[in-house]
Subunit: 370 residues, 4 copies
């Protein structure tokens, strides 16, 4: 369905070409500071048209808060936010009405529902993520107020180009300073070039978004099904175009043996840290390596949470493609919508939002136990 | 929490060394044939001690059905099943009581709950999956009765050894004929050898389980959060020791361009198939490639669902390791429990069960719409 | 929280004096006809200012549909609807900012959340029910399309005045023809008079809303917790000002013995009915009496579902009252907001909506089983 | 379905004549003392055969804890408890196999599921409440540890006999000292006599269970749908044989006007109380009357929670009744199972358990907000 989370819950709604898109945030604790400019900042990171590297769709995507906030603070009641659809051009999709675009959701929506809004991606559009990002901005604020927890995401790989990023030190500023949102000053510009080439080729590119969360409280995650890694995986795989999720050593870790892969525990004296493990007076228990990616047994261990998400190359391309119409007749599709050769540039805000939503939900769930 | 699924729901319970482990299956449609020997068959595939390749823990793991079944058929009421813990030897864990084993859940459980059952893995033990497997056996039966849908899983990779498997033709018999549950007759024996070596080294190995589901009804999956790929990801990442999930082209697909990656649609005449798309009288729409792994827009498209799950090398090893005790003192851990050098051999039954549970839940959810 | 329903789910949001109030309907089957005028009709029945008998708050309460509907039909995606708050006059509540109005939610909201919107009832306002009524209008349409099931509600009692109503024959027209929504032509006018008197007295009245649902499919309800009577009770007791719920013989039935109370079964030949029990070719099994109120074992039996809901006299009155301010000082409260001496006049639309939501949810849940 | 609660969740299972009945308690906070004799005490209050006033079914109903408890404390993992069915005598029900007993669930289960366990009430049996009572015993312990909150229930009315009970002072000892669990020393013996008469008449009686909870934390309840009164109503109406729920002034309150019904606030100095409202240093805000029954706006206000539940006369009677068989043929039913003329005697333990479950769930939900 369209609701995510157990205690901190979002319900998103809206098609790409309906009246608006939005979200209802339920279960938000009261008295949280809501800074609408912080929400707008995240939406601006997500929106198309930020640079020549993204889709030319031009929407200012201005968020409105309709409930749940009073004099700058949350009331504990549901927070409703919306963004109007302004650049809807259904006529541009008229020729796609009776076609199934390859690797889009046209065919499956038609078969599942027997009806679909063919004016753009409908509910399957990336525009659906606006509600997630707006809600995620509030979740980030809760995490910040709770323990200065910070969630970051950035482009780790585009096509064959792989960035070098230090998860301990990377900053939001470094990410935002790059037009492709890759904080590696060498790989970033190459990626921009590769995207430009894809645009000229009327083709598209995929890649990997990596996320790191620092200052994570110990103890988040609800075994056995709502393990932190499980909920993060679901959150990420619920995004359009995602094909894979891995945490810590991920798929690469399988070529290690247990003795190589296990993360040895040690005791870190207090001068270094101590925030996350409140019951240790003079230090805290840490791991020397972090192949576990910040969770063990599905529960956060206080180390950085590091995961990666694979995004397939965008299905919308300009090159001609073979497909069928709704009657099954084979046809050639020339242009399948606005061409945005690499959505990864806009994806970090979305990945951060989903991670923040998962962590906030688990933070509240953990509080209930104490 | 310990409940999974929206309409077809399981609640598992039990620690490795408590009285028993079990599951309550709720929402099972009435009048489904329940063959207890089919459930036992799946549990036997999962249990330790099947061959010299698995852990020496010896448990017959005989399932009892306590409710919900009457004269061989489901009543529509909750089905309670349990397996008694017989080979519990808490004394064997006495020396671990005050230690945190590296990359186990000891530390995080202690920090989260302030208490833990140190007699084995407790709730974090792989023994917890017994309930999932028993419930999955019923889910498989529902899928079979509905559309002859078949879920399979097998060892695709152990350490650096990669198997060649044809997802269109691989059979349960081929999988079960291999002591390592790898249907590749060349890679399989090498894997067995590699596992034997790991045992002699007191070390452990990880790998990849691959799963294929064939004859999948079109239309399963509930955007935007309960996409089929999202629920499969959550199901797999809720298993112990899993570090990654990928569907279709997964992490490898990112080095393709959109024009290479998109799956072209075509119309397949009826002599070949036609089961899954009931409204097409003389054939059905299919894709020529399956980079999408059987879902588009989070909804099944009728192609095979193919995904992979990464399992880290088992945390329990015999080699000495550095760790800390509960006071934070650094200690050397000599032996950390029963040594099972590669749990992947027993994992296919578990992965199949979780996939079957997800698909059955979505099958019921889709029925509710019609 | 602010979500209700398992498969047919609504999430409502909005305070009485925030920007707007609204609802997201999730899980609505696709291809349902959505007639916006039918939704508006229900909202008009609920809104204040319909006659001199209701609150003078004047709001046109025009509904807007922002998503989920395409060319007059549901898409199967979430339906977002909103109504703007136009007649908000926060200044009128300024003097209540630091008081706790007796039997209002001011005190409990303040204690629960530590913050509250004192500009009117906030989230505890009856205005919150707008979203429920809008969603209920769609639920009614689903019930109608499915089996011509019709949900009605009307004023059964106000203060000491009790109406005579035949649940088998009462019609929407009869209900709407009465300014107090009491279809009894004798009791109705007396009730209007009694309400006018209460207004002159600056006092308020409570009463009973009775609801009947006819042509109910057999088999709705999910034991043991989601029994139909349980979900109806929850739905009704989640409404503002409700103090009791009873089904069938209710509290009165306890003075009967089992032999008097049991509803004898008989077989009704087909000329009379037969719609609800599809497997009977020449008739259907019915009960001669309906003390059970249409459910047995928590499942609908095809008889009319008849229940009653007690509403307390409205807490907002004009008479002076003793209370305390937020510091605990005792004060006399003169006027506590807009005076609406008897909200029951507007309640039938709300009760019908909630009943329709429950029945629709259970209809979808039952479909999933077959 | 068979799960109740959001954070403190129970899943019950079992038919009256299957192997066993039981419950899984999920979300229980860790480190709660579990006293198995306290659980057994509650089950003994619920079980048949306690005196000549209840059903002659003789079952010791000994509870076993299979998981989730370690060295007398909860682990935070699911607690599985079961009670074996020992006195199952399916042969005694053989003659009912093809009949629908009036006002039982036979007919609706058959129509809903197409199959039913005719050996007794199956899932619709009162035996299903065993799991609720066992779980409720743990919930009571949590409430006690949290704020000495105490939930009581007792027989308020049987047939036409009404008891006088002071909700401020009634004790468990007084309730348990009465064979009918009515703490009124005058009405109680009359009720016992009336029940004996009903037994001789082969007939049955209904009545009212009243419940009071004292020392309730302020702030429990989650508007707008999960109001405390709504969740209590659902909990009670999910019990077998319940026909009505009312809180505070309930159905009687409707003959009052607002000025009579509103509960005036006042400030109570500390010598009297102060437990429930921790932020008031020298006293707390209370209400002079309690027509609200302890909740306002769906949230507890710290006053006693007082509600009543109507139970219909037991459907199982000895007198001959008219009914139909599964083919619709009219038949006379002579004896419809074990005759238990008034289940209310055993109901207080069940009502207390459900109230405790609701309050505990809301206690945890409220903790998550802070």
């Amino acid at each position: 369905m369209n609701t995510f989370g157990h205690l901190f819950r979002i319900t998103t709604w809206g098609e790409s070409h309906g009246g608006a898109v939005g979200v209802v945030v339920d279960g938000c604790p009261p008295q949280i500071d809501v800074d609408i400019s912080a929400i707008q900042f995240e939406l601006d990171r997500r929106r198309p048209g930020q640079s020549h590297l993204t889709t030319p769709r031009q929407e200012s995507d201005v968020v409105e808060i309709l409930s749940g906030v009073f004099e700058g603070k949350t009331l504990g009641t549901p927070i409703s936010m919306l963004v109007w659809n302004k650049d809807a051009r259904p006529a541009a999709y008229e020729h796609l009405k009776d076609l199934y675009r390859p690797s889009h959701a046209d065919f499956t929506y038609e078969k599942k529902y027997g009806i679909r809004n063919w004016q753009g991606g409908g509910r399957a559009s990336a525009r659906e993520t606006i509600g997630r990002v707006a809600a995620g901005a509030i979740a980030k604020q809760i995490l910040r107020e709770n323990a200065e927890t910070e969630v970051l995401a950035y482009v780790k790989q585009i096509h064959t180009l792989i960035a070098e990023v230090d998860t301990d030190t990377v900053t939001l500023e470094q990410i935002e300073a790059s037009p492709v949102r890759c904080p590696d000053p060498i790989a970033g510009p190459k990626m921009a070039e590769r995207i430009d080439q894809a645009r000229r080729d009327q083709d598209s590119l995929g890649g990997i978004i990596e996320s790191v969360t620092r200052k994570v409280p110990v103890g988040l995650g609800e075994p056995v099904f709502d393990k932190l890694k499980a909920d993060l995986a679901k959150a990420m795989m619920s995004l359009p175009a995602t094909m894979g999720f891995q945490i810590g050593s991920g798929f690469d870790g399988i070529t290690m043996t247990g003795s190589e892969h296990n993360d040895p525990f040690y005791f870190e004296k207090n001068e270094v840290g101590g925030i996350c493990n409140p019951d240790a007076s003079d230090g805290r228990i840490r791991t020397r390596t972090n192949n576990s990616g910040g969770t063990q047994g599905g529960i956060s261990n206080g180390e950085n949470i590091v995961f990666q998400v694979a995004f397939k190359p965008t299905a919308t391309i300009g090159k001609p493609q073979q497909t069928v119409d709704v009657q099954g007749n084979e046809v050639t599709l020339e242009a399948s919508g606005r061409h945005d050769p690499c959505v990864l540039v806009r994806a970090p805000a979305i990945v951060e939002a989903m991670a923040a939503l998962v962590l906030t939900d688990h933070l509240l769930r953990q509080r209930a136990k104490s």
